[in-house]
Symmetry: C3
Subunit: 257 residues, 3 copies
């Protein structure tokens, strides 16, 4: 039962079909993460272990974090950079194997920091699907210059090809900072025209928009509604995002249908 | 007993009559919050459950958080936006009732996101007082444009009318960000003239200045002394603020009487 | 054993001789800090209790935090401002005494907020060494204007004199913010020429560069290698820094030898 439940607007419930929230864990302690899940875990659908962070962590602690997140009906998954590091080291089979062994049922396939060909990426997506993983793939480059060189046409082509190859969801890259990358300008403002163009050519229910900053979250929720899929949410902002979705924060009060 | 107690300058002790610190909780886990209170709870007077955050939280956890904060002699209270959501939904009586039931002895009355009339707001303040609540009211709008349209004369009139209607303290709005709102310009710098003008016409001991950023905290403490009332302090900055007050951080060392 | 250990590039192990990470604790709760150390404590060499924070904290809690950090083979130490406050109050002997009593084996000697003479500072460094402390000393002023008035020649002279007087490590000041101070411009970018000039005249293995922002950490690691000594790392960024050092984050992937 909620506090002031008579004031709570409805929202999709878990397991959600839309309105996903994907959170970025960049190295929380197990007990701290658990304390946070107890209060706000129900608002998280996907939990990304950021980039290669878990490579430097103790395997037993990570296993316990994975289990803990699952106990809150959250799907924990490996950051795309982890897959890319495996790719660079010619260890993709070992990566698939250990991901499964330590409990991951979902993984991310990206090429933000590497030069794999489009076909290679699509094959990895298909392979991951065949191995039984839920697959999130990411479109965009980590380096702003490299990222800027991808035309909108190319971005759309990639999104659709990855979905066809088996991706369950496609993530639009914005990193932890959310500035000067992908659909965001140097100040972190969304480029409306590009977002609209993208929306006309891809199935929006399959897109997770990385939106690390509050203004970006407000932007997408006001534009696309409370059940928009948003990602790279900081662990500090889980509750805030849920209140923005429901019109319970100044920015969206009275503005959510 | 403190560390290096021979270096500790004096400060008001709880229950304080001045030098209040109001902290913004935007969804901390119970155990994490308790761990933080154990080390720095004695420096917090008011703890605001930010905007509508508690509406999305489990009632039992919130009850335990309220109780926990009280055990550290902190007054937890409901964010103003929560009251406004009740107002929009015509549920103010239910809001008063549940606030009391789950343990709140203080509430905030604001109109930052709604168009209630001045008289309506004053009546709610009086009503809350009659019901036995400690009342904090807030002056200012969440939307920068709407906020900018309030003249200084109007702000002063509102502060004084709210105090007369029964507010125990009046909060000067600055949100979580502290930029381009109320007394702060786009860079978050205080507009000295406006602050001075305000100070000449309101009882400063009844004012809590929202000052989420360090430079704002330093500004008010250097201007008004260590026993200034400051609010919207991040949970990360509780100890830092106390050291700024006492001249134990580079910014104010040797500058506090 | 690590996760995906076959992807983990090597790094200096504790007790490290180089590649130090110095973290800034500005008032974490004991349990929260312990939870964080359990997952990432092995990547921290020095833990600074920031400025005068511990003066406002309960002695028993601080003793337990010191002990806890030591149990993870981390060297906790007192922030330089704490020493300076003792200096201003003519209580340096009492400061040395209590530091030892509560368990500190390392201390920082700085003059960022005070006008002690060069000789005074050198004498304090020697005295601390004689008392058996591991000594970190800091070069730079907290106030940007005062700091800007120190020429590069002077900075180099100070670093070398302090090492000669007994400092084990010298810290290059950048505060918690890392902007408009020392080697950083207003945007927080390192001034390459000054860094290079400094590097030509001081032993770089004895330097800890304060680098609170991610771009600064990336800058030094790409310039000086993964075993660079970096300081004022936020408790939120411990794991991130370790991944940057090892080429496990987008910013340094494929760029670390």
């Amino acid at each position: 039962m909620k506090c002031f439940e008579f004031l709570l607007p409805s929202r999709e419930k878990k397991p959600r079909k839309k309105g996903f929230t994907m959170v970025l864990d960049k190295g929380l302690g197990l007990k701290t993460a658990k304390s946070l899940m107890e209060i706000s875990g129900e608002y998280i659908d996907f939990l990304k272990f950021g980039w290669g962070t878990i490579i430097v962590h103790d395997k037993e602690i990570i296993k316990r974090k994975i289990e803990m997140y699952k106990s809150f009906e959250i799907t924990p998954y490996t950051g795309g950079t982890l897959f890319e590091i495996a790719y660079i080291n010619n260890k993709v089979p070992e990566f698939f194997k250990e991901s499964k062994e330590i409990g991951f049922e979902a993984i991310e396939i990206s090429d933000g920091s590497t030069d794999m060909t489009k076909n290679e990426k699509l094959n990895f997506i298909s392979e991951a699907k065949e191995k039984g993983f839920y697959v999130l793939s990411e479109v965009g480059k980590k380096d702003p210059e490299a990222d800027a060189s991808i035309t909108m046409e190319k971005r759309i082509e990639l999104v659709n090809a990855e979905l066809k190859a088996g991706s369950d969801m496609v993530i639009i890259e914005a990193r932890e900072g959310g500035k000067n990358i992908g659909i965001y300008d140097e100040k972190g403002n969304a480029k409306e025209e590009e977002v609209d163009y993208l929306l006309r050519h891809v199935p929006k229910e399959k897109i997770i928009w990385e939106a690390p900053n509050k203004d970006q979250q407000v932007y997408f929720i006001l534009k696309l509604g409370k059940e928009t899929n948003l990602g790279n949410i900081s662990t500090d902002d889980i509750t805030s995002l849920e209140t923005i979705r429901r019109g319970l924060r100044g920015d969206t009060i009275n503005k959510i249908k």
